[in-house]
Subunit: 506 residues, 2 copies
């Protein structure tokens, strides 16, 4: 049974989202480092690639790199790269591209100053205020995608919002991606866990969009993330999935897993050097597979709490590293991915201030693709329903901030000020009456009533209000239509692949 139809949901006060509209960032990006310092990081990363190199664990990927002129070590996997090789290869990466959803009004622009925001991705656990924290499952997977479809601040999926652990791993991707296709009209995601799973996901998305293979080649329609297995290793399965994506002109986000002090140098400059080396190696590889295939530079650099050994996110280090990554990605003219990250164990105040540090880093660093945008807590180990709504509110506020107030004769209000004069008020002024319904940001989640009204209506705190809102959204959710011919082809493909046994565990 679907969640969200309980009594509490019916009691929620009305709320309204801002309309769906992909935003671009009108402000100058921030610089953390001087141009010379960015150049030093760039050069150090090229030195890492030429002197130390990267372990490429896929023989197929090694063959491609060898063919294109990279140097292969005696063990057949340690690859070193000339600086010229890297810089020449990455130049064919598109600086901007369109990522296509199932509905044409859900296509998004990736790159430039455009922003794509997503749902939480890849969490093994899921939580809400009613049930606490439980293992990820298909019902919650589906409900979180329903929220992603319903929320106007979500522009794409960036992974499974939560892992549907109750579905056998051999057929999980078939059920998960086909369900996402049915539940969501926004651009989708598939995991690059080997060629077979990646090809299944690409095929499901192609069928869902009702396009042929040639159209798919022209129209990026699915993303995947390839994490470096930091330090300096790219995994076999992920690279082989990436090859399928590149060959079909689909975008891969190459994201080093550079937590300073654990998988990368303890200094932020050093972690960025390693991030840059690993990202450039991935991006160059992508162009070796197919010049011109879209890709993104993934930034995930943060630091480890050296007392507990736990990853920390939304720290001052994370914020600086993300903004600095923007300087690097713009140097290479490659779209940038970062995250709305935090390490709190609950959707509480810590989760909010760490997420705010992350979101402002995305805004100031001109991040193009905000992964884990809605619902991430616990450094990615849990998807929280209430955090989804907290993040939607914060994202809405950021989007409103990105549209600066207009300055013209009418808005300057000199006449309104003269009309009202000293010692009066503007509630009844002509300008106010004309504009009061739409002039200011309207919140979905904030309660701006006075203390007495708030207390007398139950002193409901923000997370409790978020709990009511996600339930209401699920109650109101209507599954988007899918043409019957597409539905038939989709079912047929999934059933055929299931009957073949799906894809074996790796």
């Amino acid at each position: 049974m679907r969640r969200g139809r309980d009594k509490a949901a019916r009691e929620v006060a009305s709320f309204q989202q801002a309309p769906y509209k992909q935003k671009s960032n009108p402000f100058q990006p921030m610089s953390i480092f001087s141009e010379d310092e960015i150049e030093s990081i760039h050069e150090a990363s090229l030195k890492v690639l030429s002197d130390t190199g990267i372990d490429i664990q896929s023989p197929r990927a090694v063959e491609i790199l060898k063919r294109e002129g990279a140097m292969i070590g005696g063990d057949g996997k340690r690859v070193t790269f000339d600086p010229e090789f890297i810089m020449e290869k990455i130049t064919t990466t598109p600086s901007e591209f369109t990522l296509h959803g199932r509905h044409k009004d859900r296509h998004v622009h990736v790159g430039g100053s455009f922003i794509v925001n997503t749902m939480v991705s890849s969490a093994p656990n899921v939580s809400d205020l009613d049930r606490g924290r439980i293992l990820g499952n298909f019902e919650d997977y589906s409900n979180l995608i329903r929220l992603g479809e319903s929320l106007n601040t979500v522009h794409a999926l960036g992974g499974y919002p939560v892992e549907p652990c109750d579905v056998d791993v051999r057929i999980r991707h078939l059920h998960a991606v086909s369900a996402a296709t049915r539940l969501c009209t926004k651009p989708l995601f598939g995991y690059a866990i080997g060629s077979e799973r990646m090809l299944d996901a690409i095929e499901i998305v192609r069928i869902g969009r009702g396009i042929d293979e040639e159209t798919l080649l022209r129209e990026p329609s699915i993303t995947t993330v390839v994490n470096a297995n930091s330090p300096l290793v790219y995994d076999k399965a992920l690279l082989e999935g990436a090859i399928e994506m590149a060959e079909r002109n689909q975008p891969v986000i190459y994201t080093p897993f550079t937590l300073a002090g654990a998988m990368a140098p303890i200094t932020i400059a050093g972690a960025l050097v390693q991030q840059n080396a690993e990202a450039l190696a991935g991006l160059a590889f992508h162009q070796c597979v197919k010049p011109g295939a879209p890709a993104m530079y993934g930034s995930f650099t943060s630091n480890v709490d050296m007392r507990s050994g736990s990853p920390a996110f939304g720290t001052p280090e994370y914020t600086q590293a993300t903004i600095a990554s923007g300087q690097l990605a713009r140097k290479y003219k490659i779209p940038l991915r970062a995250s709305n990250a935090n390490a709190s164990n609950a959707p509480d105040e810590q989760s909010v201030y760490e997420s705010q540090m992350s979101l402002w880093a995305c805004l100031l660093g001109q991040v193009n693709f905000i992964l884990h945008g809605h619902g991430w807590i616990e450094g990615g180990l849990c998807a929280s329903y209430e955090k989804v709504i907290l993040d939607a509110e914060m994202s809405q506020m950021m989007e409103a901030f990105l549209e600066p107030a207009k300055v013209n004769k009418d808005t300057l209000g000199v006449d309104a000020i003269a009309e009202v004069g000293p010692a009066s008020h503007f509630f009844a002024a002509k300008q106010t009456m004309e504009r009061y319904e739409t002039e200011h940001y309207s919140s979905m989640l904030s309660d701006w009533r006075n203390f007495e009204s708030w207390r007398d209506s139950g002193a409901v705190t923000t997370t409790q209000r978020a709990n009511k809102i996600w339930k209401q959204l699920l109650t109101d959710y209507q599954e988007p239509t899918l043409e019957s011919a597409i539905e038939a082809e989709l079912s047929c493909f999934v059933e055929k692949r299931i009957s073949e046994g799906g894809a074996p565990p790796l």
Copy 2:
């Protein structure tokens, strides 16, 4: 009895603040508006001052303005200003000055790219998780100042943290400012509620610092805020207090109360025009009293929630208005005050995301004096103990962000990366061992342990941890010493003024 000595306080895990150090902002300020747009706002505000004018309710202030050449209306209070008059007068405002604390290592620099952060100010109510919300009183007033003295992110007081309502208004200022002098070594504040109270506060601060009147003239040692009674009115009592401050070379923060849609035009551009007109009038007046006297440009522009009529803070409008105020204040080369504002009724997630919007606005707008920096909730109607700690943590994170990571041969870590190589980790690397204790930001409030450790130790959320921390700070607080001669003079002055009946209610 002092609060904070209960059992819970003894159970709190150890925590450590970052050391006290006033920070400056190394980044370029953000621009919300183009230079042309800022010029339009500037010119519109001068037009308001010349065409509509301001009601000046103090005859003493009107006399000063008349003497200096402003135009006085037939009612004896409507003052209009030539643009040249305004622009000429404000040029003598110092762009930077030192504000002196009772201890010389607590002097702070005001202006340029320096940041002064403060405690919550002027709240009528106070709350904590244990007692809920109660009327302000002298015990809580004193405890909040103790927290302000103890917290390294607090650099000055910006008002009474909470109103000590249990002290008779005739002698309240005498008790309040003398208590602040004893409890706190950082720069202090007095309310400009008429000449008499302002002079008492100045005298108490002078005695507390152990300086003579001539030294006080050279050394700004106390601030006050003069709010415009928007639209376009300056109150008698506040201006007469401001005259005493200006004559003694003490800084006044002229802050229009421009809530868009209520006391100012509904448009942000219009509200900024009115803010700028009112602020410039106050700043010009200050220089009429005494050329060269320090002052600050106060920004408080936000919007009213047109559904409930309540003020909203930390909104996208507030954020834009604050950053735009930075553009205006820098145009005039006058230090800028804004606030860490929010409108939440509890120290919850809404209070945090709205405060973050405000704090980032302060950072990006290069605000010099952050009023209400620690503990403000409910749009200023309540001081929250837990919010004090949430704000201290967020301020600490901002301060750490303002120190960019170093980029040099050592931090770039090429050798560390070569030493570790692929498929290993950096926990035992030489560079890690040398730096792990101090390299990263250390949190006072965040819990970065994994979920299981956090759950098994009681699943304590952020606000609950904040509750333990403020109690621990009060337990650990030690009253700073005061020379016995100063103590004697202070007591003598306060007793004398009390025996005289204090200052009558206005």
